[in-house]
Symmetry: D2
Subunit: 162 residues, 4 copies
């Protein structure tokens, strides 16, 4: 889906703002998710396999798949938002097209259309096993840009690994 | 939405099967989610607030809200499935209608229509603060019944709290 | 789902505004859809069966089911909007839970949460045959209130029946 | 999104089966929709503008946009189904990302994953005005393959234009 290239280069300040916001998401840290690519309108998040992320058959739980898909889409949108704003998910929908398995999941969030208040994203999640990528989920998402309401500035204390 | 009553009483063996399957979900335990009501076609899950569940503003992350909504719907469907089956989420959609805050979230999953292979559920998630319930999310979900493929029987070792 | 009662009574001017807007929807007229109940936060639309509305098996086409569900939700939201506004559908999702058949379909749109810019609705569609109602679809929808942008005032010329 | 090329060539019998099924959809004919490309896993449908397709501002109604998106996805899936089967939409979701305007709409349905019973599609709808294409909607859809239940064979009488 996404092309990575020069047209997606993001200024360093915006990337830093996205990475700082991601670091404030207690859930991403608790799941062990890592923010990977941060480009203009495109973000990827990786989630290594752990038994703490499973459903009853030992696959990644749809809730884990959805959580990184939602954050990937949300931060893809946030790369395009003005400085004094924050991002809120209005709704999303996800189709789980194959069992979510592998050494890690990679969620790709990509902006389809960005407006002043609403931004629409598509998400893809891949399971990666032995270097082979398998599409496990696709999603669509609506974001709201909260103008004049930037993220809280206080930095959360670093959590001990869980 | 759901009425709790005598028409929803589930036989003890089916309830035990649902509770055993929930206990196999590593993610639910990792999040701190608790299976609450298990009735015929209706399941509720509670999730106490922790900083490990937050998004960047300190609310519950949409991924946490979605995870318990997905499991509540999935197990609501599973209460109606035959013994030698398991449950798989095909897709779901969620609207986040208010900030997910409070001492705990409660997700209610309820079967709307149950067929041989596909079951459709509605979900509601409430934030509970000082005894006051606020609707924070609504969802719709499609489940598949995996006939002849029951959950794996090995019991996971009890995890230490995370 | 919806309770019809005194708390849903709408002032006559608002009802007239909704009915005038519905009359501007060329598609509703072309399909033969009729605006039925218009209450505060709740609207129903009826669609009598015609071969012009079918899919390949002779049931109502999912597009017809969706169209009246979308309009029912949209106008349910519009009943709560200020005078100088109009309504726009941002997104919707629909589960088709049973074959859409019968002498007519009835779509019920109901507001779940109404905010300044965004409103979230649930929709149900029933097939009615020999007085028996069968749930055929459920949906969720996000609407935007376009403040300061009322509907165009020119009345469309009455169409000849199609 | 879709690449049109030699890997998408469909055998003539399958294309004929899809075109015959489309011709049975009374709604598509009533709306004035035309089946355009029929390739392996990809179908496009075009819908010329008429006042009979409008919402209250004169744009294409979301119900019209959804109807051709649903049929495009459904028939994209159907190109991959066995001979003695038919196709049913289980659910779909659509984001309306821009006003649906232009001389015509074009819906593209594309199979993302095709399984024995369930097939998942993505849809895009473009408004075309003066040769310029604008993305107006994106969607996701789940289809069911009804094995052993082909379309009814009786051909509908040709309708007079409406």
């Amino acid at each position: 889906m996404p092309k990575h290239g020069s047209d997606r280069i993001l200024n360093p300040a915006s990337e830093a703002r996205v990475r700082a916001s991601f670091a404030r998401q207690g859930l991403m840290r608790h799941l062990g998710a890592e923010l990977h690519l941060v480009e203009s309108g495109l973000v990827t998040i990786r989630l290594p396999y752990r038994s703490e992320l499973t459903q009853q058959h030992g696959f990644f739980h749809a809730g884990a798949t959805s959580a990184i898909a939602d954050s990937a889409g949300g931060y893809a949108g946030y790369t395009l938002f003005p400085d004094d704003s924050s991002v809120l998910t209005i709704e999303f929908k996800i189709n789980l097209v194959a069992p979510a398995q592998g050494e890690l999941l990679e969620a790709i969030g990509k902006v389809v259309r960005s407006g002043r208040s609403l931004t629409i994203c598509q998400m893809e999640v891949f399971g990666i096993a032995d270097g082979k990528r398998t599409l496990v989920a696709i999603g669509q998402q609506t974001l709201m840009c909260m103008h004049g309401k930037p993220d809280p500035q206080e930095v959360l204390a670093p959590a001990t690994p869980t």
